[in-house]
């Protein structure tokens, strides 16, 4: 079964440092997403990406965040200057269709900001 792959599985960084979280979506999917889940809380939408541009973003996704699809396979989330409150699980997801089946999540990257 096709998977969304995320690396690294765990990232520890110092406050103020930049981090890049990486994702390889399912190959025939067209829509890409980032979500985050603070420990013990619900999964929250960050951003969706389609046709090489952001299609929607949440209030959480401020100027510190950016996304990029640098090549045909990778999808990255960059946090420019991390804060303690950025510590969370970050999930990448992809889907073939808008509101379609196959909205698949990766296993996540646990980001710890110290």
């Amino acid at each position: 079964e096709p998977e969304v792959t995320q690396t690294p599985s765990h990232q520890v960084t110092q406050m103020g440092q930049e981090v890049i979280l990486r994702c390889v979506p399912i190959s025939n999917h067209l829509y890409f997403y980032w979500y985050r889940q603070i420990l013990g809380q619900k999964v929250e939408f960050l951003v969706s990406f389609y046709n090489n541009e952001i299609s929607e973003k949440s209030e959480i996704f401020d100027d510190q965040f950016s996304v990029e699809r640098p090549d045909g396979s990778n999808f990255t989330l960059k946090i420019r200057s991390t804060k303690l409150e950025d510590s969370a699980m970050y999930f990448c997801a992809s889907s073939e269709l808008l509101q379609g089946r196959g909205y698949t999540f990766g296993s996540g990257t646990r980001l710890t900001v110290v």
């Binding site: 997403y33 809380q41 929250e44 389609y50 299609s55 929607e56 509101q99 909205y103 999540f105 990766g106």
Partner: protein
Amino acid sequence: GESVGLHLPTLSVQEGDNSIINCAYSNSASDYFIWYKQESGKGPQFIIDIRSNMDKRQGQRVTVLLNKTVKHLSLQIAATQPGDSAVYFCAVSTGGGNKLTFGTGTQLKVEL
């Protein structure tokens, strides 16, 4: 905006019994609904989805029921097994969009 809530943070069932997990949503324009299962340390795993033009959808051992009148969604798991132990989230999309709003999750515990 949309808010999504689950009725019970924890549900304990005996192995072999049926489980029912409930979810309420706030936006009547919500039109696509997904149930996810999340095991410890893993990402949400798709279980079953339903669109607003349907009331019921069945999969293997799972059924999703949608009541648009009261904005309520439920997941029924038949013959619950130990492997079903996980946190279950409902997720809702509105207005034909692709952003999912998640509920808070119900921890399903299966007792032997």
